[in-house]
Symmetry: C2
Amino acid sequence: MNLTILGCYAATPRTFTNPTAQVLEIRNRFFLIDCGEGTQVQLRKNKIKFSAINHIFISHLHGDHFYGLIGLISTFNLLNRNNDLTVYGPKGIQEIIKLQLKLSNSWPQYNLNFVELTSTESETIFEDDKVIVKTIPLKHRVYTNGFLFEEKIKERKLNIEAVQSYEIDKCYFQNIKNGRDILLDDGRLIENKTLTFDPENPKSYAFCSDTIYNEAMLPVINQVDVLYHETTFLESEVELAKKTMHSTAKEAARIALQANCKTLILGHYSTRYASIDLFQQEAKTIFENTVLADDGKVFEL
Amino acid sequence: MNLTILGCYAATPRTFTNPTAQVLEIRNRFFLIDCGEGTQVQLRKNKIKFSAINHIFISHLHGDHFYGLIGLISTFNLLNRNNDLTVYGPKGIQEIIKLQLKLSNSWPQYNLNFVELTSTESETIFEDDKVIVKTIPLKHRVYTNGFLFEEKIKERKLNIEAVQSYEIDKCYFQNIKNGRDILLDDGRLIENKTLTFDPENPKSYAFCSDTIYNEAMLPVINQVDVLYHETTFLESEVELAKKTMHSTAKEAARIALQANCKTLILGHYSTRYASIDLFQQEAKTIFENTVLADDGKVFEL
């Protein structure tokens, strides 16, 4: 699981900083999470193939989280994309995109699908054989969701020495990795646990965008490996955070602590502060394993 | 009159190039013409004050000409803008912007006005004491206008030596600059031409965005000082230019020649060519005084 930060600064794109967008790679699937203005250029700069992105998740309809979406959808079309694209986001996102495509007379040649979200309860919105994605209902000035990405349990790891010692043919390897026992030609039944090792624990990643401090999310993100929590402010601006329904670094750390997360990544920094290090210092007083996102940074999770 | 090129490349923003946007400064008025994705960052990079821009002209509703508009409008609001802002563009632009502002619950605190264009005849869309702006109807895949900016005739220049020799009081200077004769206390009438020099000739600038080769625009842009004409292709791709309703460099030069322009600026280059110099070389075979736009370039007109 790799996380590439395309943008992690609040409010507006600036000369050297970008609004929220990130790509989560899970076992060769590339999920784009939020899509602020300039995301398509950030994808280029970070050498992420446009054609690899088939699912885009939009947390809420504030500009710094989705103004780059229409441009990306259009550019995909100019590049003669064939793959289907599915956009998951708040109700209304479909109308915004379709209106612009209609008025520009540039309907994509690829299949463009929308999954519009309205629920205030966590729900599964994507699932395949390797990954499941659920919403994390958040509280902001407009309807907002975070997204929980859970890897499914991987196949078991082959114990090469063991399968060779029993002279088992390669054609049985996939069955063995799927957990099956093997009946040898001489009639012996070899138990799967003799032939395999346990798989790595599946990883999980929770993206929580702009939200007021909100303990209601705790059951959904409980024991997540990595929590990305947008913050905007330090505790010195806690009243402003409340008023604008953002979180402070300390509040994000409290969420990470209560949810028993392994790692907390902070982002969505207001540019009012002299250094983003202040966010890390503040969060670490509550939750030690706090790291900072920055544009272009790649985390191997 | 100064022209700052914020972006002049076709189709999509890229790592080092930007889609169409430019700022024309005429006697301390700043007009933003087109607004591709990333325009707000280009304004920052080129040190153009956001608060100076009160009028935005959008040629047509293809993404590379207006996807940066919603972000700029939102950022103006975040920066606590007070000035009115007027957007001139094709019918539909108001619906696109208002839908996004409604769904993001972020209506601007400043007055945001729209002048929606539908005419296929040239019309005056802005006028004050110094500048007049008219549409230039163009032919593209969607409804499209260029824009003609004409400086009004300036006031006459004071002949300082002459007014001093007649001991004329400063309080009469503005009347003199406005062309009035002066009656001295001794009864002599001094003709204005004795006291002033002719003003500089007013300048004019025509911005012609994406369009197929279109002689119908010639009467509107006749004898314009500077013609900016988007091109996209070289003559070797003339069939593709026709099909996509763009112009070649040679075709833009033919327009400049027939309209008796003084200077032709080319832009909107397809990135398929190894060098944009090829556009200049081709245009110069028809119209010698051809120059190339490039992102960040400033022309003193």
